[in-house]
């Protein structure tokens, strides 16, 4: 096309004439250069070049494309959204960052401004945390997609000078028994994706030597075309080593692996829907993982960080060098000069623009004062890591990018980081749902066994054992409790040798509530994450949000997103739990339709003394069992309804003020050492939680259903399997019952049973036996179903 002309240089480089370009011209340019920019954005860029009175270059347009992608600029969360309830000027600002202003948590050290959020741990040391999504790549290439997802989030932690100590992973798959004949063209079978993703995460995390300590594996029909892979990482950072002080003249130092054609236009791919052509078109967008390279970088970075030799750092992830180089310069109000011919390559025939946007893994970008350069380079070489000085930071406010001495891009950073604000309209229409009419079962025990066997409740041991959960010797409460490997609610880590202080990491996610009401889905998963954290002894909780949503250009999807975001604000405020980091993945659409609206909440709590951490296994016969919180007939979206193939409408709601009081009181009881075991009630409600506590502790349990505090009269099956929020089971020694009850004060709680020697779970109602099942049968049901991911 005539508007794109090849320059006379001996390497691939084009000039693009945007003057008077019509909409059709712009579209053609975008398609020729494989740009994902919208027409509005293209016009905006064109107008800029008209003012500058010059042609654009391919490298410049690629930079705009990367920087303005949904993946890099989060334009949906930054844009203006008109809802029937009024206009929201930026979801992120309105519902997440504002919480920080309102709650003023002084322990939030650095939030929403860097690669990861950082909160205080001790006076001197902070904890960095980040959770990422890697859905699109995992749908095409499960092993590589999941592995690089984990590698990427570990680099986010390295990218705030922190030392990574633990990972999390939450995975959502289609049903493993999904009929092959129903799979549309281009969608891979959940069984294949499951095996690849679990292997990919295990391979990366195990090789780099960071334990995977918390997570979840969720199954739902709506994930069949849209696998969801969340990977998180937690790191330790002495606060005086968190250096962000790049000055003009500092060197731009690229460290790590070589740059190749793997991962070209990854962010553009991640910001589009999956189609049957994705496999062919987007294969090059998926990166190749090399965990050992990252392990070496991690060692070297620890030393550079400990010796405070750098002035700035970021990881090279989405958008490749184009984002990393320009973003750092812009962050510090500087300019930058970089020479792409210096970049070490995997393939020598790469065009400059390919080098510029490649998302090859295991690369970090450091800013280093010239006086420290030799030392930094020698540290990396000591770990056998390649380093390249790409150029220097300047005072110009402009990115000047060269190749073999020829200038290929002169980008004004001001305009690059000021994309046009997106404006969208939403209209969320509540789905028409009704409560199903399920006959009351005669045998509640067999229902319990069926629930324990359901994929979302059954043991995930076969997945968890694929990951090292305790390398580094800091995992105090492990994901699987004891020899019977029951499901702990959260992980507890002891990050520092010289203190008993620890951290608790938990999560909350639900695949079905979002189909009923995104607001209450969000509220419920926040409560679940917090409840899980409290259950092991966590408090002073920070939250992370990770949205996996459908195409936000549809009004209903965006409307749901606004509702869920509003819930984050409301519930976060009520609990006093600020969000410290987050990441969204939109455009999760496949030939099978949109993903079920999914919000993952990760909670990071503080455990003042890990010796007082609590696990969920019953401890001793004769102890009392309490329930805290009110049970309501809230079965909508429950596992119990799902067992009958129903969704229902009565999604669990939330009373955060009441719960906050309960959680604080539980924390106090744990500090006094009178809580022997604690377990949250979630999927499968009271029935499943009781069974899990019993078989994990290998002790019997007797529960009287008539003593459970309820909001209204309801059927036994509803009482047993309702998933109302804010509820936990607590084991207390007989001698401490008085103290416990006094502590719980006016909160809703009741003594509902006791731990017993003979190994059965016995459910009664006013002395009348409902069912009695041996623990062996319960644990057998719970442990069997999930297939080996191999």
């Amino acid at each position: 096309m005539t508007r794109i002309t090849r320059s006379p240089h001996p390497f691939e480089h084009h000039e693009v004439d945007l003057l008077n370009a019509s909409d059709d011209d712009l579209k053609e340019i975008a398609s020729t250069l494989s740009l994902g920019l919208s027409l509005d954005e293209l016009r905006h860029i064109r107008d800029g070049y008209v003012v500058r009175e010059r042609k654009a270059t391919d490298l410049e347009l690629q930079t705009y494309d990367q920087t303005w992608s949904e993946h890099c600029s989060h334009k949906t969360f930054a844009g203006i959204i008109h809802t029937p309830q009024g206009t929201v000027d930026g979801l992120l600002k309105t519902f997440f960052m504002s919480l920080i202003d309102e709650l003023q948590p002084e322990w939030c050290y650095s939030v929403f401004e860097d690669n990861a959020g950082i909160v205080d741990f001790t006076d001197e040391v902070g904890i960095a945390i980040k959770v990422e999504t890697h859905n699109h790549p995992s749908a095409i290439e499960p092993f590589g997609g999941a592995a690089t997802g984990l590698g990427g989030v570990i680099r986010d932690i390295l990218g705030v000078w922190a030392d990574p100590i633990a990972c999390t992973d939450v995975l959502c798959f289609g049903p493993l028994n999904y009929p092959y004949e129903k799979l549309p063209e281009g969608v891979k079978h959940p069984r294949y994706i499951f095996g690849g993703v679990v292997d990919g995460i295990g391979s990366y995390g195990n090789s780099i030597g960071i334990p995977t300590v918390n997570g979840a594996t969720v199954f739902h029909e709506k994930y069949t075309g849209n696998v969801v892979v969340y990977a998180g990482c937690v790191g330790v950072i002495p606060k005086d080593q968190y250096i962000r002080d790049v000055k003009p003249g500092d060197c731009v130092l690229l460290v790590g692996g070589r740059t190749g054609r793997d991962g070209i236009h990854g962010v553009t791919f991640a910001s589009a829907e999956l189609t049957e052509e994705s496999e062919e078109v987007s294969r090059p967008a998926i990166q190749i993982a090399n965990p050992i390279e990252e392990e070496k970088i991690k060692r070297a970075l620890k030393e550079v960080s400990d010796r405070k030799l750098g002035s700035g750092i970021t990881d090279i992830g989405g958008g490749g060098l184009s984002c990393g180089v320009c973003e750092t310069a812009d962050t510090y109000g500087l300019g930058v000069e970089a020479h792409l011919d210096r970049v070490p390559l995997k393939a020598t025939d790469m065009a400059p623009w390919e080098i510029w946007v490649s998302e090859s893994q295991e690369r970090m970008l450091l800013a280093v004062p010239p006086g420290n350069l030799d030392e930094v380079v020698s540290i990396f070489h000591g770990e056998q890591v390649e380093t390249t000085v790409l150029g220097t930071y300047t005072e110009t406010g402009q990115a000047d990018i060269y190749y073999e001495g020829v200038i290929l891009a002169e980008l004004e950073l001001g305009s690059l980081f000021d994309p046009p604000k997106l404006e969208r309209t939403t209209n969320w229409v509540p789905p028409v749902l009704e409560e199903p009419d399920i006959p009351e079962p005669d045998d509640l025990g067999s229902v319990l066994l069926s629930l324990l066997r359901s994929y979302n409740i059954a043991s995930k041991e076969k997945v968890i054992r694929r990951y090292d959960q305790e390398v580094k010797g800091q995992t105090v409460v492990k994901p699987l409790q004891g020899w019977n490997a029951g499901p702990n609610d959260a992980a507890v880590l002891k990050p520092l040798d010289d203190t008993w202080k620890g951290i608790a990491i938990s999560s909350g996610i639900n695949p079905r509530y979002g189909l009923i009401d995104p607001y209450w889905m969000a509220a419920s998963v926040i409560d679940e994450a917090i409840r899980n954290n409290v259950s092991v002894g966590g408090r002073r909780i920070s939250l992370l949000d990770n949205f996996t949503w459908g195409n936000p250009e549809y009004e209903d999807r965006l409307g749901g997103l606004v509702l869920a975001s509003r819930a984050c604000y409301d519930v976060g405020k009520a609990y006093g739990t600020p969000f410290v980091s987050g990441k969204d993945s939109l455009y999760n659409e496949s030939p099978l339709g949109p993903v079920t609206p999914t919000l993952l909440i990760t909670a990071l709590g503080i455990v003042p003394d890990i010796r007082k951490a609590v696990t969920m296994d019953l401890k001793e016969a004769g102890d009392a069992l309490y329930i805290v919180g009110t049970t309501k007939p809230e079965l909508g979206g429950s596992e119990y309804y799902a067992l009958h193939g129903e969704l229902g409408a009565s999604v669990p709601k939330l009373e955060p003020e009441k719960n906050a009081k309960v959680y604080a009181r539980l924390n106090e009881a744990m500090d006094r050492g009178i809580v022997r075991a604690c377990h949250d009630l979630s999927d499968g409600g009271l029935g499943v939680a009781s069974a899990e506590m019993a078989f994990t502790g290998d002790l019997g349990l007797k529960v009287d259903l008539s003593r459970v505090p309820v909001s209204e009269e309801m059927r036994d099956d509803f009482m047993l399997y309702s998933e109302s929020n804010g509820r936990l089971l607590v084991e207390v020694s007989e001698k401490d019952c008085g103290e416990f009850e006094a502590l719980m004060g006016d909160s809703v709680f009741a003594r509902i049973g006791s731990v017993k020697e003979d190994k059965t779970l016995r459910l009664e109602k006013k002395g009348e036996l409902l069912f009695e099942l041996p623990l062996t049968k319960l644990i057998g049901a719970w442990k069997t179903p999930l297939e080996d991911p191999r």
């Binding site: 056998q384 390398v471 890990i610």
Partner: protein, 271 residues
């Protein structure tokens, strides 16, 4: 020698990753633990400055080809002679997990007739793939492995395994003969056992990888080179044990301590 004068060298390669907890265990015992990149050791060639040599767990060089194989070849080439000299002095050499794989790949274990030019046995891929789980291993040595004399014979240590390749096997045509030899020369040190102390007899998950004869760890005929798959360093403190919240001893030590203490005491007394 005095405990505080004992120098432990923990060598690492790209991908070594169990060094933190291993260093922590040795330091807790009051010895000097030095974590050194193998490239530095290749240059310094100063192994004899140290009293104990440890190859920690991990995935050296990604464990491509075969676990431990690449690092083993590199070491053989760069400091094979120095390691052999170190072994000849009788000082303890310990390989944990990936370290065990390295000692097998370098031919120091089982080392029936001294170091063999090529690996004699294999730590093959697990019966159930990569697994991180707690197991129990029993000390069945009769005293030849002197560094473990502080671990009572028959003592069961609970600790985790975390590997994909740890299935101890021997050449098919020599298996029986060599097993006898391992017994005769008192080279069998650790075997996987069940909760009741009885041998796993190949049953999974008590025997987590399908190892022949439930073999978890062996030593050389001289007893000073010891390799095993499980990780006692991850069971060093009470709060790392699987049921510490039930048994209530987070501030005490875990099962793994006796193992490291025995080694340190041995060096204290012997050298």
């Amino acid at each position: 020698m005095k405990r505080e004068e004992i120098d432990v060298l923990l060598m690492r390669a790209p991908g070594t990753n169990c060094d933190l907890e291993t260093v922590r265990a040795f330091r807790d015992l009051g010895v000097r633990a030095h974590l050194v990149h193998s490239q530095r050791v290749f240059k310094a060639k100063n192994l004899l400055d140290y009293d104990i040599l440890v190859f920690p767990g991990g995935f050296s060089y990604g464990d491509y080809v075969r676990s431990g194989a690449i690092w083993a070849k590199e070491m053989e080439y760069r400091i094979g002679k120095e390691i052999a000299e170190f072994v000849d002095t009788g000082r303890p050499v310990i390989g944990i997990c990936n370290g065990f794989q390295v000692l097998v790949e370098t031919g120091f274990l089982p080392g029936f007739e001294g170091r063999s030019p090529e690996p004699q046995v294999a730590l093959a891929n697990n019966s159930h793939g990569y697994q991180n789980r707690w197991i129990r291993m029993k000390n069945i040595g009769k005293g030849n492995c002197e560094m473990l004399r502080g671990v009572p014979e028959g003592q069961v240590i609970a600790c985790p395994v975390a590997h994909g390749e740890g299935r101890f096997i021997m050449p098919q045509d020599k298996t029986e003969e060599w097993l006898e030899r391992l017994y005769d020369q008192d080279q069998l040190v650790f075997r996987y056992v069940k909760g009741d102390g009885g041998y796993a007899e190949g049953s999974w998950p008590e025997n987590p990888n399908g190892a022949y004869h439930d073999i978890a760890g062996i030593c050389n005929p001289e007893g000073n080179v010891l390799g095993f798959m499980p990780h006692p360093e991850r069971a060093y403190f009470g709060y790392l044990m699987p049921e510490w919240t039930k048994k209530g001893r987070p501030d005490e030590y875990g099962d793994g301590r006796v193992f490291f203490e025995s080694i340190v005491r041995y060096v204290e007394a012997r050298f």
